[in-house]
Amino acid sequence: MLALGAATGSGCGRASAPLPTTSPMVPAPAEACVLTAGEPGGLDTVSVGPLPFEGLLLRRLESPIRFDCLGQPRPGLATAWSSDSSGRSWTLVLAAGGVAAADLVSEWRARGATLSALQWAGVESMVPLDRRRLVVTLRRPSATVPTIFADPSLAVPTLGDGGVVLDLVSHRGDDPRDALDRGADLLQTDDPGVVEYAASRPDLLTVELPWSRIYLLLVPDGDPIELSIEADSAAFRAALARDAVRGAARAAEPPFWWEHPPACGSTPSPAAAGRQRVGGAIAYPLRDRTARELAERIVALSDGMTTKGLEEADLAPALHAGSERAYVISLARRVLVPCRELSGWPTGAIIVPLIDTRSSLIVRRGVPALTLEWDGSVRLEERR
């Protein structure tokens, strides 16, 4: 018998992912981060396949800075950044001809998600000095450029001409192979069948992306779930990755960013003692097949439990309230604002990392260069 709850405490360790460091200008992408070099005379129009393509989209919606796959800060809306001696006030110098500092602050203030992210990141004030310079003051000093500047919620549409037009189409509900057959130039997928199909096509190139998602079991009230299997934690995770899910997976590997979170202050989640559980199921995001498969495997190894798929809109409040027996959810392996992610979790919960997953990028030959970002998303390098 394996008590999942008991297996969580042993996975402690400080996150060793490369943290961004202050770097005024790194114009060229690091070689390690280049996924495809692109080919001369390539496509002028890039057709993006079905979901998920947020990574590509976000690069058309630039944040003030970004981090490449090595954690190196790179220019986004801002071409340069610096801090004062205290490390609390950071000045962003926006690109000439781009969005004005005052407009950027107005845009951020108008968006609830952006304000929430800024708040969780400890931003105290934002003051435009002139059209290009914006001073952001933090509650606590930061020795390196604050990661909040690369948060997707701070991204706004870029004004420059990229030279490449993204033909964005949605194919929700379709077979992803249909998108390829209809001429999509980029397709990010975790379906092995699609990857197998693309491998058989000479005009397509398949690139495995890094392990970017982690699936975990969250038990709100800390009551361990008894499973009828004789295995230690690592073997259990490996078995899950091998047999239970169909996509590319591996046993979840530390470090786990939530194990040593920064001081976030009080979170609004109800205490374990005050919760009222209304369901006895293991809930999962209804449209996440990997989460469903993991939940089903856990149910298969337990007695008397069932699975329950919840829409995203229902899952977040249910998770926050801890109203189900347990949850299988996925997170980014790296996050820029940990406090914001933790705010939706019930306090005192048992968190059991299960598996890491990654997707593959299928690229039609001739597409411009693609680079990998720090959080595992893909950036389409504009033609120069």
């Binding site: 047999d243 939940a295 149910v299």
Partner: protein
């Protein structure tokens, strides 16, 4: 209870009781026949359901046989299950899900000889679990139809299960498949809309809202793999009859019967009303005419053209009234003669009384003329007063008797005007005299003087009845009265609030010279009655000691403008 009510009750009972019995019988017979019909249909349906279940089970078995044939020839399966080739394991895990979908089954589970799940279609990630109970139970249940409840990720699945097996490399594998026993299949089993089929696991009961009655049940071998402990048991496939059609039919029948009963009740009321009017109205009219008969009103017409009992009764009453009329005439004549005799005796007595002094004076004069003629003149002067007094007495007597038979001169007479004259001339004394006169009153044919005498007598009597009292009311009223076919009448009523009369006093009230008043002549009411009869009218006295007296005189009225007779 009125005659009409009795007729209504009789009509209602006569119609409703047979109709109610008919309705009860119809309803009972209909229910009995429907129930028998349902029982036959249920019997046929149960046989059909049994065959359908067996057919469905055979269908599952056929699909399993096809899958077993494919699996035995499947190299990737052999690599994964026999050779335990790791790259082929994913194929094995996903095999049952795809095969189940392709074969149209709801349950598919591939297990090795130890019962370990190699691949599951309805619960993909239940692989490697030991579940030997399922194939063992299905294989040994003994019947073609076996019901199992298996786990699924979301809960459980109730299925009609079959099992098949095959060998590969000396190892035996079982393939258990099943069709879901869901509502759709159960509905398909029962084509009759009034019958429904439900599967009850051990401990289950029919839902309260089903509204059906269990009419038959099939016992099926049952294994619950979703329960904490699994042991073979028996499930019941129950066939229930929906009472909806029967209830609707009964309601419809009840509604029609109620409508028939209501209509009958209404017709009974109308019939009772009509019958009672046909029967009771002539009786009521006869009763009214009879009640109007008295000695002064014998003119009611009882003639009838009916040839039934009512007509006979009417004619009988008419004959009786005619006899009464004749008797009344004779009685009146006898009374008149008796009164005339009394009067003659009274006149004789009075005249004698008046003549006795005269005769005595004359005898005295004769004696004086014979014995002392010289004193005759003095004696005459002496006895002259006696003579004058006697003559005056006789003259008065003569006037008094002359008043008993005045001459009559008829003319068109305004009753209200006469009443007003009489009241105006009356001396009411302590009484208060008032009138209540009807407007537009028809005139009567009468001698105005006679009419005045009638009213004077009645008013004086009424006023004098109040003389001993501290006061009181005398009311003279007039009103038109509907006649009995001979024309309208006028009623003159003199009412007083005096002491009234006893029955004995009333019986003698019309006797001549009978009076209860000091100084009364005793001729007032006698004269009044005679005068009224002379005018062809009627006279009625209603009185009671202490309750006053009401004297009503009714005279035939003239049509407006008619000439006096």
């Amino acid at each position: 209870m009125s005659f009409r009510s009795r007729l209504f009750v009789a009509f209602s009972l006569a119609v409703l009781v047979p109709l109610g019995l008919l309705a009860f019988g119809l309803r009972r017979e209909l229910s009995r026949r429907l129930t028998a019909d349902y029982e036959r249909r249920v019997s046929r349906a149960v046989g059909s359901i049994r065959q359908d279940l067996a057919r469905e089970s055979e269908s599952v078995a056929g699909r399993l046989a096809a899958l077993v044939g494919d699996l035995a020839a499947d190299n990737r399966f052999r690599l994964a299950a026999v050779q335990r080739d790791p790259p082929s394991r994913r194929y094995l895990l996903d095999y049952a899900e795809g095969a189940m979908r392709l074969s149209g089954l709801a349950l598919l589970q591939l297990q090795d000889s130890s019962g370990r799940i190699l691949s599951s279609g309805h619960f993909r990630n239940e692989y490697d679990q030991l579940r030997p109970d399922l194939p063992r139970f299905v294989a040994t249940s003994g019947g073609p139809v076996t019901v199992v409840r298996t786990r699924t990720p979301e809960g459980s699945l109730l299925a009609l299960a079959r099992v098949d097996s095959f060998a590969a490399a000396g190892r035996r594998f079982t393939l258990t498949g099943g069709a879901a026993l869901e509502d759709r299949l159960l509905k398909r089993l029962s084509p009759d809309p009034d019958l429904s089929v439900a599967l009850l696991a051990p401990g289950d009961s029919l839902p309260a809202h089903s509204g059906g009655e269990v009419v038959s049940a099939l016992d099926l071998p049952y294994l619950d793999l979703a329960a904490a402990t699994t042991s073979p048991d028996t499930a019941r496939l129950v066939v229930t009859q929906s009472a909806g059609t029967l209830v609707a039919l009964r309601r419809s029948l009840d509604a029609w019967l109620l409508a028939a009963l209501g209509t009958t009740l209404g017709l009974a009321m109308v019939g009772a009303a009509w019958m009672s009017s046909r029967i009771s109205r002539p009786l009521t009219e006869l009763a009214e005419k009879t009640s109007a008969i008295d000695l002064d009103r014998m003119d009611q017409d009882f003639s009838s053209q009916r040839d039934d009992e009512i007509g006979a009764l009417s004619r009988l009453l008419g004959a009786m009234t005619e006899r009464l009329r004749l008797g009344s005439t004779r009685l009146r004549e006898a009374e008149r003669r008796l009164a005339v005799g009394d009067l003659a005796r009274q006149v004789n007595h009075d005249v004698k009384n008046g003549l006795v002094p005269i005769r005595n004076v004359l005898r005295h004069f004769a004696q004086v003329a014979q014995e002392r003629p010289e004193t005759l003149a003095a004696v005459f002067e002496e006895r002259r007063a006696t003579l004058d007094s006697s003559v005056a007495y006789l003259e008065t007597l003569a006037r008094n008797y002359a008043r008993l038979s005045p001459g009559m001169s008829r003319e068109q007479c305004d009753v209200n005007a006469v009443v007003e004259d009489v009241v105006r001339a009356a001396s009411p004394g302590p009484a208060t005299l008032r009138t209540s006169l009807a407007a537009h009153l028809s005139p009567v044919s009468a001698d105005r003087l006679v009419l005045r005498r009638i009213l004077e007598n009645l008013v004086v009597n009424a006023v004098e009845s109040l003389a001993s009292a501290a006061g009181g009311w005398v009311t003279v009223s007039t009103e038109p009265v509907a006649g009995d076919g001979l024309g309208p009448w006028v009623r003159i009523t003199v009412t007083d609030t005096g002491p009234g009369m006893t029955r004995a006093e009333l019986d003698r009230a019309f006797d001549d010279f009978y009076t209860t008043k000091e100084g009364g002549s005793g001729l007032g009411l006698s004269i009044v009655r005679r005068l009224v009869l002379d005018l062809e009218g009627t006279l009625r006295i209603d009185t009671e000691p202490g309750a006053g007296t009401r004297v009503a005189v009714e005279l035939p009225a003239l049509a407006d403008g008619a000439a006096a007779r």
